[in-house]
Symmetry: C3
Subunit: 343 residues, 3 copies
Amino acid sequence: MHNLGQLAQIIKAELIGDPQALVQRARPFDLAGEGDITFAVNAAYRSRITQSPATAIIIAPPAEASNVNLLIAANPKLAYARAIQALHGKPYQPTGVSSDLIAGRGTAMGRDLSIHPRVTIGQDSVIGDRVTLHAGVVICDRCRIGDDTIIFPNVTVYDDSEIGSRVIIHAGTVIGADGFGFVPDEEGRKVKMLQMGRVRIEDDCEIGANCAIDRGGFGDTVIERGAKLDNLIQVGHNTEIGEDTVVVALTGFSGGTRVGRRCVIAGQVGTVHHISIGDGATVTAKAVVTKNVRAGARVGGMMPARDYKDWKRSQVLYFKLPEIVERLKRLEKAVRKMEADDN
Amino acid sequence: MHNLGQLAQIIKAELIGDPQALVQRARPFDLAGEGDITFAVNAAYRSRITQSPATAIIIAPPAEASNVNLLIAANPKLAYARAIQALHGKPYQPTGVSSDLIAGRGTAMGRDLSIHPRVTIGQDSVIGDRVTLHAGVVICDRCRIGDDTIIFPNVTVYDDSEIGSRVIIHAGTVIGADGFGFVPDEEGRKVKMLQMGRVRIEDDCEIGANCAIDRGGFGDTVIERGAKLDNLIQVGHNTEIGEDTVVVALTGFSGGTRVGRRCVIAGQVGTVHHISIGDGATVTAKAVVTKNVRAGARVGGMMPARDYKDWKRSQVLYFKLPEIVERLKRLEKAVRKMEADDN
Amino acid sequence: MHNLGQLAQIIKAELIGDPQALVQRARPFDLAGEGDITFAVNAAYRSRITQSPATAIIIAPPAEASNVNLLIAANPKLAYARAIQALHGKPYQPTGVSSDLIAGRGTAMGRDLSIHPRVTIGQDSVIGDRVTLHAGVVICDRCRIGDDTIIFPNVTVYDDSEIGSRVIIHAGTVIGADGFGFVPDEEGRKVKMLQMGRVRIEDDCEIGANCAIDRGGFGDTVIERGAKLDNLIQVGHNTEIGEDTVVVALTGFSGGTRVGRRCVIAGQVGTVHHISIGDGATVTAKAVVTKNVRAGARVGGMMPARDYKDWKRSQVLYFKLPEIVERLKRLEKAVRKMEADDN
């Protein structure tokens, strides 16, 4: 529980109202009541703030007179995210190391840990302080897990992976499997390119569930500080994802992709080998990125769904575009001729 | 083993033939022999029923004279599915609770269980009767698992998830990981929106392998009664999937998608945040659904694969469509002018 | 460590230089130094071979005079892959069988095994010689795992699966879950088609992380000898993937797809039920294969990403193609009329 005076400071908002009023929960606008803080996500909600029974409402400037306590913030959603953290975030409490931990020779464990049952750690790994490892986590040899990192159940971390501090890895994700590198031999059989690099995940990253982040061929696959990956994402060998970039579910990065900082990569996107996407670029859903994208650009390419028959009609004509253009050319020629004849 | 008289009742078909004839297996048409029941999936197979050595064949109406025992059913595939169940489905036999079960304080276990080795359950969870949990399953705190539910190996169920009765969850699936919610702060760093909701999976659902079904932000992500999900499906926070809807592999639902009842969502489909898809709608493979879809509609949008050169040619012209339309306009103007001059 | 004389034989290249020179590492061109072998991947690198401090460089013919030791190979990348194997591949060393292995009745274990802790094997399975099973692997009943196969952590192998020799399966992958087969009943509820087939993975395959390969309905899902699958791939029931075919990440095969030998299936591809793709065909990224593809063909279909506004402009006109073609027809008619009038 916080009073609004404290909370305004924590969420970096300006309070117009009673600094002693107490809030104990953050709740969506339509569910918020007495003792709750909420936010008005858009003009429609804003027009209803005087009717809300919430104890406080976060809004964007300008301030206005109101019977409700208002918290004015340039970015109300950000202020709301901070309010949720302040009211609902639970301070870390170590649960200790399960007696059935299996850890190999040379592995060093930090302090104040929360190691659940059925965790397996290989040899010569280093586990930082206040790390949480859930049941079924397998960490192989020579890995490093930074302080305050949380790894959910059934995650696999292959040999030699390096994971920073305050990282969250959701269940089922695989870090450091071999990159996909094969060369056909004289008979067409595929010869494996040994994958000798590593995965490095920097501080403050969050990786969703059931992702696959492959180790580098030579050198490292890198997820830079603060990048956030959704679920079921494929990161090919030697790909680098820049700081604070977000990547939505089911996207796949081919080997050697370089994604800049603060990019937004939407869902089900694919990239071709070795292309690079500049800082701050946006790639919209389902696009296949086949060329470098410059910083700040917005690229897309997939058709939205339409009525099936409409789409089918256009799709048939799409494949007739060469013929359509031929017909257009013939017409242009005929018209030019007629125009010349007329003169 | 069943005689055809019994089986006709079970599969709700009309028997034309010997009610005492015995069948012990269901088999595909081309493999079916003496003692087998099969079905004629289309006219081509139907024309061959008199040559089949099968003991019985399920066909659609109308009935016909035949040397083979026929089972007439409005939906032969449905009747066949029921025949397979009747002949090959195994009644549940509890295998007991493995002595190495790890279960936390306050967790209540039902009766007649099949708990394989290496299962981990947290605190204050409730496991129903006749539940099967395979090796490597991790169920966290305060979960509920309904009666007769089967969870395959290495599935993770996060805190507070609710799973109904007769649900099947295939291996590697993750239920209840955090939704993907972040807000950039003043420096562009991503602040996590705490995900405080839950996942609720209702009775009779089946979830494929390696899916990821995120918990709600506030409120729940819901898979309604009887919905069936294939493998590698992403379900974002607060998405609701309606009763008896089927979803094919590699599809991703953004947060807050509402999918109606009895929809068919094909493979590799994507949806944009907060759109809704009406009851009975069909979305064809790979479409990106960017707007609401009305009940019963059929929407699509992805191009089928074509000869690479043909496609490339059309694809180049696709990006010239604005120019093509300009040329068309100029022509129309020229022709109108000539027509006017002629008059 | 090898001398160049030996290494030339191993990698099937022609040495121009000192057969006694020693190399101990393979390294990328720009990182290679004394004691290293590398390869010149293209003309740009080739022009720089005299400046490289590497001990040996693999190049394509023709040979040339150089101060560096050269290894001439028709396929330099293949020769390089072999050099990496020769210098960095580690001979198998059995680590033994962990004392906490749980294996059911009737399961037979081979010799010289590496069974890590927390492995679970069901009943009546057969594990070959020199097999490596990592922590968290669950192998169910009546499975066969061939010699020299490596299965990484948290992989699930369902009942009755057959896995060949020298197969590699990466972490989190699920082999043999039920295929996706349902029939709506009279009330629209989905009745499960029992999935009674198996999965068979032949020798020398490699399967990436977090894949899902479903068992057959009747009969088998088959991954033929030497096929290589990347991460997060969906293989539907009764699909067959031919020898030495490679499949890139996030691709999904519907049930009953037949993929020939030595095909290249790029990333995020989808296939429609029961189509077949001929030997040696290529399917480019993100295509949806809706019809049979003949041997050797190259098919594609997804638009590459473009500037968002350009793409939006074309995309709007795409849906106006029927109208554009109408306008074209009217023009053609008007022009024909005018031409006739002129004559």
